[in-house]
Structure formats: structure tokens, C-alpha cells
Amino acid sequence: MIQLTNIEKYYANKGVKNYVLRLVTTTINQGEFVSIMGPSGAGKSTLLNIIGMLEEPTYGTYHFMGEDVTSLSERKRIELYRNHIGFVFQAYHLIDEMTVYENIEAPLLYKKVGSAERASRIADLLDRFNIVAKKDLFPNQLSGGQQQLVGIARALAAQPSIILADEPTGNLQSAQAEEIMSLFKKLNEEEGITIIQVTHSEKNAQYGNRILHIADGVVKEDVAVLS
């Protein structure tokens, strides 16, 4: 599904190249649950952003579902966002002016899903995440964990084939974190959604089935998780 070949990323500062990623080559298949780990500043977020096409690599090739992403038009990329990629952020990034319901509805509107279909999907998600009672509240009226649930529900609404999550539990207590991790595991196992997450927690990484260890922009280790 994802094929990275010799991905490099550097920031030029006063003529000095500061490498963030060096010759990263890896393949992630449909249905995997990958955790990216490593020390702070290692380049984890950068790698995830490149996978999510939020940033461009300075060098290297990237194929997403068999398509070369570097030559992708803006319109095509947006189509990918609409149909295949769901993002989950550490800081939740819900839209403050929208209610819970509307936040979840937004990607469906962009995808031009019919209103009946929309209502049933949202009802389903609200129900599944146990936030039906909160549907008319605004994000600042929710706790952090609840906000992240909404964030995940939003990412799932468009029924993506892959979810990219950058420290999705970074701001949460361990109980809440566990809840979210088992949710990811369930999504991965039952619905076959590919999940790539960045995490600092060894425990969270155990929910997945593969761990990429990164240090100084280089993939040091690529190990499978035994369950």
C-alpha cells in the first residue's frame, strides 16, 4: 500500500543541510498496524507527515496505492484525503465552531455523501464511541479523551483505508489511552484498516503488529510484534 524508497528530508540552514530523514526505505502493506517509535527529534512526525502527503520529501520516491505521489496534482491528493486517508492528531484539532455532530459530518460533506447515508453513518459512529449524548456540544465542552474520540470518529467517517495518527494519546491519561488503543486494534483487526501511529509508549506500540524504530532520521530497527 505504501512504498517509500530512499526518502530524504533536510532543512537547509545557512548553507548547512540538517538531515531529518536519511534514506528511509520501507513498505507498509494493507492491513498492517505500524507504530513508529524513537527519541524526540528523531523525525517521526516528519515521516508521518510525508506519508500523509502534508510534507514533501526532498529526495526519494513514494508510491501510495501504486501511484507516484511526488507527481500527484493537488486535486488528486485531495481526492486521496477524501477517500483513503484519515488523520488523528495529538492536539485533536477539532473545529471549534462546529458541534461534535458537525465535526464528524464535515468529511462526509466534502465527499458528497447523501444526507440519509450521512445521518446513518454519523449515528453509527456516535453510538459506537458512546458519545451520542454529546453530539450537540462544542469541542471546548468536552474532555481531552472525549475530544480524541470525536477526532477518531471524524477520521473514520469517510471510511478511509488508512489512519495516520501522530501521538494520538499524547495528551491523555493511561486509561483513556488504553481505550483508544484497543479501538485502533479493533478497527485494524475487524475492518482491515491500515493504521500508522507515532508513539512514545512501548505499551501502546504493543497494540500494533509492527514497530519502526527511528533515530537521527534513520530506521534503526523494523520489528514485528508478537502477540
Binding site: E55, I78, A91, P107
Partner: protein
């Protein structure tokens, strides 16, 4: 999606109520000023537009120098009455020609049966052809027959209703008394015409045909000046018509000069030339013969209202971009959810449209509220809903609205939709925000406008103070003008009333200045002076100041023969020590008369301060020609002259029962002269106040946003130990630079504008420095205060709140 966007827009507005209100209110003010201007311009453009047939009506203009304010040649609306006959005879393009007498004085007296006489303005005396030229619609009577006979009158429906309470007035008669001892004409109403729905350049309430306009003066040397209008049958080539007019005019002039034994060359020298032309009626109003036309007069105001609109648009843009910090996250998230840039731009355009629509509604309400005051200020009758041209005005308004919405909405929409999702989602959008430079430029621009306005107000205020305190050269206290001719019998009667000090007349006094050119020969040199005829004690009545020599007095017999008094301007043209000197003047028979100067007086003002006092010679004698005066000056020796005026009115009623008594105090005449300037000043003050408050509101809102944006930074600094004062300073510094820059730029701009305005006055102050200093101080102080209030609020907030929130 659309519904949701609308909802979000509404929630955003609601969340930022105060700023939204500032935004919408500001834009509404700007729009209001602009729309008022649009209405005004539409009004001015609608002159003489009440019938499609008017396109065949022309005004005849003759180039001459009689009755001009500066004694120079102008294309004038009044022409020698003989020209009408000549056009009828020898210019076949024009099939009908009519003469309309000028209106003298303050209206005419209308006496219906035995009722008290009432003054009616706008009764024009014409010949019988008036309705052959002007296509008025008759409610009663017919255009062909109404003015056929002498002593007939056609009145407008509105006047009929006013005088009689009905428009069924055909065949009724009233007595028209045009001046105080006019025996009057009994006029029969032979027609009632409908009032027209656009303003007219010939304003009238009734057209009389007394018969006076049917013939020209008998003597070849005397002429009667009237307005002349002509009608063509269908479209004509005005160029060739004007060629014919010019040719017949030159022929006519040559013939009449020959009869008067004048040489054509002698009259038309020094750059003077004969001229006669026809201008289409629709060009009459835009081209007044002496003053600036309305568009030129209005230019500064148009400029100002455009500026106001621009200032409010700038506010709009500034606040919207400032707010974009808050909206950036929304944009970033929407982008990764799969929103097209187009959709985002559309969303923000919808938001600004929502605001500008609110502004539009508000401004329509404001216009309704302000129109009466505006009409009063400009002495016109504008209306919005009842406007003839509502449709075209609404179209213009929609055009303005679209432009404003696009201007105000596009930039913020573009800025927002362009932001990069990664940096936004990383949370450092504020720093990567473009548009800061533009916002600063816009703030500077706003302040340039405001500071320039403040300087202009300052200078205008000083000049106005200077003018209203200026020595007029005569004593305007305890002096009234009865605005009527001088009659020895009546003058003697009121002289006997206790409290009356002087009674006299002059052709020229403030409120009724009539300039009459008088060419003299002094030491072989020809000099043009302004000639004023006075009675013996007129100069004493006015209370002018003597510089040397003496004023006229009964004791000197020669004063009724050949004595003259000069004003300083005239004396300055002729030479030093003028008292006792003599000069010559050629009269119309070619004889040279010698006049002796007996005194020189200080210049005194008759007209606005935009005009210099003309070099003038005053004489009592009727040697060398006199002019009719229409002023009767009365000076009192008591402050409480109300009672004295009542007594004068009593005498008046006995002598002139058919003409109402009227007078104007010199104080009022003076206020009238100041009026126009005062109006202009008021308007500038009004616009400036609006513009300055808009700019300040904008700055206020902007500083709030900036403070908000830097909330985290401020909280951190406080935790690190910064004092509130230091934090306020920190925020002030960035704005202060902008305001100072604006001041530096606006000084030269204001200097040029204000200097130009002052140059319009013949009497003016030296350009003062202190309005400049004052406006800079004011702008800086207000800006600092505004920003400080906001900054302080943020500074004294508990840092925890900000840090926790992040």
C-alpha cells in the same frame, strides 16, 4: 455544506460580537456616506430631465461682461433681449424662441382680492412663446393659447394649491406687484401646469406674460438682458447652428455699434471677443456661468466619501485577516479532511458577504435617518425610496456592494485558504502568517487619512475663525437693508422716526453686491474700476473708515457734481496722495467728464472672502451714468431697534399697501456669506469624525486581536517576571511605529491639500504649524491609549489561564 458554512459564519460573528459590530457598523457608515453621495450625484444629474422633448431645447448664451462678479467677460445666461428677435428671423434651425426676464429681488408680491399681499418666489415674466419652447403638461388651459394675451399667467399646480387651495383656478385674477411702488399688473390665470419630477435649472412657480418682454428697449443705446431659450424641430447640428448664431451676432453687433458711433475694434480689444452660442438644456446646470459647476464643487466631498468607504473596507480586511489566526486551524483541518481551496475561499467569501449584507441593510436604515439632515444641509430634496431613479440607484448600489464585498472578502479568503496545513497543525500559524505586512500598510494608510483630516479641520477652523473675526471695513451692527429702491419721500419719513440715524442707498452692500465696470483715464492711463453709486450719507451709514480726505457731505455742493471717493484698492492702482487729484471718464456721448477725488476709505467687504475687494470708486452725482440700486440702508442709533423697525413697517404699509415689508440685517447678510464655507467645514468635520473613529475602532479591534494572538507569549513573559507596564509597552511599540510613519507621510499630503484650499480665499491666514503638531500628538496619544487599554487587559490577566488553555 453551504448551510453548515453559513452556520459557522454566524457562530463566528457571534463569538466576536464586538468586532463584528465594529466591522459591520464601520462598513455601514462608509457605505452610507457613499450612497448619500451617489444620491446627490444622481440628483444633480437629473436636472432638466423631466421630458424627452427637452433634448430639443437650448439656452442661448452671450459672451459679455455686464453683471459679472469680476467685471470680466463670461458666457452668460442672460443675453441682450434683441438677440431673440434676430434668432427668430435669421437662424432657421430654431423654430421657437422665448425670452424670460430675470427675477429681481426676493420675489414678487401677489395680492388676491383684498387679502394681505404675499411674497411669491419664482414668478418669471416671459413672452407669449414660453410654452412653445418648454413642453410643460397643462392640467387646465392649453399650451397654444395660455399666454397669447398680455396680462395672463400660467401657474404650477403646487402654487395654485398654495394660493387658492385648489387647482381649479382658471379665469381667476390676482394682482402682481413686482416692486414696492409698482402700480402692478392684474393677471388672469389662463393655465395650470403639472409640477415636474426632476429639478429644473429655470426654477419657477408661475410664468407671467405682462407684455413687458414683447418688445425691446426703444433707444439703441439701452439694452434689456433676459434669458433666451430656443427650440429646434428634431435633432440639429449644434456646431453649424452655433456658427450661424455667431455670424448673426457679429452682424448685429456691428450694426448697433455703427448706430452708437462706436468702433467694433475699440470694444473688442484686450482679448475680448463677441460670442453667441446655444447650449443644450441638459448642459445648462452642469455649466454655471460664474461659479464652479457642481461636480467640481463636489470633488472634495466625493473624494472624502470614497476615502471613508476605503477606510471602512480596510477595517474590514484588517479585522478579517487578524481573525484568520483564529480560523487557521479550521482551515488546516478542513484541508486534510479533503476540502478544495475553492471551497474554502467560497466559505470565507460567504462570511464577508454575510457581514456586508448586514452592513448594507444597516446603511439603508442610516440613510433613511440621515436624509432629512442631509437635505437640510445641502438645501435639496433627495429621497431614497421615492426616487425617480430608484432602479438605477439600486443597480449602482449593488455594484458598489459587490465591489466592496469582493475587496473586503477576497484578500482574507485568499490568505486563509493559502495557509499550509502542516505549520497550522503544528500550532505555529501565527508566526507563519502572511498578511502582517499588508495589515500594517493598511493601518498606516488609515492613519494617514485620519491625520490628514485632523490637520484639515485644524486649519479650516483657524481660517474660519479668522474670517468671522475679520474687520469687514464697515460696521455691520445696528444696520439693516430694506432691499428696495431709494425714494426720497419714504426716506424722509423714516428719517424722522426716533432711533433712525441714517437712511441711504448704495448699489453695493453685503448681501446685494452689484458690480458695474467703470473705465477711467488717469494721467493718460486707462484704469478699470468698479463704479458704485451712493447717496450722500451712504458711506456714513455703512460706517466705513476714512483713510484720508473726507466722505461726501451736504455742505459741499460739488459732491453732487463731480466728487468721488476711492477705496484703498483703487487708490493703490492709481498712485499715492490721491486726495485732490482729478481723473477723466468718457461718457456714452464721447465727452470727457472730470472727477475729483475727495477722500480715500479703507476697503470694505461686499462679498465672500474668496473674492478680493474690487478697486472701487464711489460717487453721488449721476454724472457719467448711475445704476438703479435695490438697497435701502437704515442705521439705528440704538441696539434695541425692533420697535423702530415696526414703526418703519407702519410707514411702509401706508405708502405701499400692495407690497410686503421685508428687510435683512447686515449681521444676517454676513452669516449668509459665511454659510457656504460653514457648510463645507461642517461636512469636513462630520466626515473626519467618522473617519477618525472608524480608524480608531479598527485599531482597537486590531490591537485586541494582536494581544490575543500573543496571549501565550505574554503569559510566558509574565511567568518569567515581566511587569504589566513592560508588557503594555511591548504591544504599544509595534503600533506606535505605524502611527508615527503615518504621521510622517500625512504631513506633506495635508500641507498640499490645505494650502490649495487656503488659496481659494483672497483673505487667508498664513499656513500655521500647530494643527500639524496637534494632529500628530492627538493621533499618537489616542493610538497609544487604545492599544494600552487592550494590552493592559491581556497583561493583567492571570497567566495560568492562557497557559492552561494552550
Amino acid at each position: 455544506m453551504f448551510k453548515l458554512n453559513l452556520k459557522i459564519a454566524w457562530r463566528n460573528l457571534w463569538k466576536n460580537k464586538v468586532y463584528a459590530a465594529i466591522n459591520i457598523g464601520g462598513l455601514a457608515l462608509g457605505l452610507t456616506a457613499f450612497v448619500l453621495m451617489l444620491l446627490y450625484i444622481n440628483y444633480e444629474k437629473s436636472y432638466d430631465n423631466w421630458s424627452p422633448d427637452l433634448k430639443n431645447v437650448y439656452q442661448i448664451r452671450e459672451k459679455h461682461d455686464f453683471f459679472t462678479p469680476d467685471n470680466k467677460e463670461h458666457w452668460q445666461e442672460i443675453s441682450n433681449s434683441r438677440i431673440a428677435g434676430i434668432i427668430k428671423e435669421s437662424v432657421p434651425q430654431f423654430t421657437a424662441v422665448t425670452k424670460i426676464d430675470q427675477e429681481w429681488g426676493n420675489g414678487f408680491s401677489v395680492k388676491i382680492d383684498h387679502a394681505d399681499p404675499v411674497m411669491v418666489k419664482g414668478i418669471k415674466d416671459a413672452d407669449s412663446a414660453f410654452f412653445n419652447v418648454f413642453p410643460y403638461q397643462f392640467i387646465q388651459g392649453t399650451a397654444a393659447n395660455a399666454l397669447k394675451e398680455p396680462n395672463t399667467v400660467v401657474i404650477k399646480q403646487s402654487l395654485a394649491n398654495k394660493l387658492y387651495g385648489t387647482d381649479h383656478v382658471l379665469g381667476k385674477e390676482f394682482k402682481l406687484v413686482r416692486w414696492r411702488d409698482d402700480t402692478g399688473n392684474s393677471l388672469k390665470i389662463t393655465g395650470v401646469i403639472a409640477d415636474v419630477n426632476t429639478p429644473e435649472s429655470i426654477q419657477f412657480n408661475a410664468v407671467s406674460h405682462t407684455g413687458d418682454q414683447d418688445h425691446d428697449p426703444d433707444q439703441i443705446g439701452s439694452s434689456h438682458y433676459t434669458q433666451i431659450y430656443a427650440k429646434s424641430e428634431g435633432d440639429i447640428d449644434t456646431l453649424s447652428a452655433n456658427k450661424s448664431l455667431q455670424k448673426v451676432y457679429v452682424d448685429f453687433k456691428k450694426k448697433s455699434f455703427a448706430a452708437e458711433k462706436l468702433s467694433f475694434k475699440d470694444v473688442y480689444k484686450d482679448g475680448k471677443s463677441p460670442g453667441l452660442k446655444a447650449i443644450s438644456l441638459k448642459d445648462v446646470h452642469p455649466n454655471p456661468p460664474f461659479s464652479l459647476n457642481w461636480l467640481d464643487k463636489l470633488k472634495p466631498v466625493i473624494g472624502i466619501s470614497i476615502f471613508l468607504l476605503v477606510v471602512s473596507i480596510i477595517n474590514f480586511i484588517n479585522l478579517a485577516t487578524a481573525q484568520s489566526v483564529q480560523r487557521a486551524k479550521e482551515v488546516g483541518v478542513k484541508k486534510v479532511l479533503g476540502a478544495y481551496k475553492k471551497q474554502l475561499i467560497l466559505q470565507f467569501l460567504i462570511e464577508s458577504t454575510l457581514q456586508s449584507i448586514s452592513a448594507l441593510f444597516l446603511s439603508v436604515i442610516l440613510i433613511e435617518i440621515l436624509l432629512p439632515a442631509f437635505n437640510h444641509q445641502f438645501n435639496i430634496t433627495l429621497s431614497f425610496w421615492h426616487n425617480e431613479y430608484l432602479f438605477s440607484i439600486v443597480l449602482q448600489l449593488i455594484a458598489v456592494f459587490i465591489v466592496v464585498t469582493l475587496l473586503a472578502g477576497c484578500y482574507p479568503a485568499w490568505i486563509l485558504s493559502n495557509c499550509n496545513p502542516v505549520s497550522v497543525l503544528k500550532g505555529n500559524y501565527g508566526n507563519s502568517l502572511k498578511g502582517i505586512t499588508l495589515r500594517n500598510v493598511l493601518v498606516v494608510f488609515q492613519f494617514i487619512i485620519s491625520v490628514t483630516f485632523i490637520i484639515a479641520i485644524g486649519v479650516m477652523h483657524l481660517q474660519t475663525k479668522y474670517i468671522s473675526g475679520k474687520d469687514l471695513g464697515f460696521d455691520r451692527d445696528k444696520l439693516i437693508n430694506l432691499r428696495t429702491g431709494y425714494d426720497q419721500n419714504f426716506a424722509d419719513k423714516i428719517r424722522r422716526i426716533p432711533g433712525v440715524q441714517y437712511v441711504s442707498t448704495t448699489t453695493q452692500v453685503m448681501g446685494n453686491a452689484f458690480n458695474n465696470k467703470s473705465k477711467i483715464i488717469y494721467k493718460g492711463r486707462e484704469v478699470n474700476l468698479n463704479g458704485v453709486t451712493v447717496t450722500m450719507d451712504a458711506l456714513q451709514t455703512l460706517g466705513v473708515k476714512l483713510v484720508s480726505g473726507r466722505l461726501f457731505a451736504k455742505e459741499y455742493v460739488q459732491d453732487t457734481i463731480n466728487s468721488v471717493v476711492l477705496n484703498e484698492a483703487a487708490a493703490g492702482l492709481l498712485g499715492k496722495n490721491m486726495v485732490g487729484q482729478t481723473y477723466g471718464k468718457v461718457d456714452y456721448q464721447g465727452k470727457t467728464i472730470t472727477f475729483q477725488v475727495v477722500g480715500v476709505i479703507k476697503n470694505y467687504h461686499n462679498e465672500g472672502f474668496d473674492k478680493a475687494v474690487l478697486p472701487t470708486v464711489y460717487k453721488v452725482s449721476n454724472l457719467g451714468g448711475t445704476s438703479n440700486t435695490n438697497n435701502l440702508l437704515v442705521r439705528f442709533d440704538t441696539k434695541n431697534y425692533k420697535g423702530v423697525i415696526n414703526k418703519i413697517e407702519g410707514e411702509w404699509k401706508k405708502l405701499y399697501p400692495d407690497f410686503p415689508f421685508q428687510y435683512q440685517s447686515m449681521d444676517d447678510a454676513f452669516s449668509e456669506i459665511l454659510e457656504e464655507n460653514k457648510r463645507f467645514m461642517n461636512m469636513i468635520v462630520l466626515f473626519s469624525v467618522v473617519s477618525v473613529s472608524l480608524s480608531l475602532l479598527g485599531l482597537f479591534a486590531l490591537s485586541t486581536f494582536v494581544a490575543k494572538r500573543r496571549t501565550k507569549e505574554i503569559a510566558v513573559r509574565k511567568v518569567l517576571g515581566a511587569s504589566n507596564f513592560q508588557i503594555v509597552n511591548l504591544l504599544n511599540k509595534s503600533f506606535l511605529i505605524l502611527v508615527v510613519t503615518a504621521n510622517l507621510i500625512s504631513w506633506p499630503i495635508a500641507y498640499i491639500l490645505v494650502k490649495k484650499w487656503l488659496e481659494g480665499f483672497a483673505y487667508r491666514i498664513e499656513l500655521p504649524l500647530y494643527p500639524f503638531l496637534l494632529s500628530s500628538t492627538i493621533s499618537i496619544v489616542i493610538a497609544v491609549l487604545t492599544v494600552s487599554i487592550q494590552a493592559r487587559k491581556t497583561a493583567i490577566a492571570e497567566p495560568v489561564v492562557a497557559l492552561k488553555y494552550e
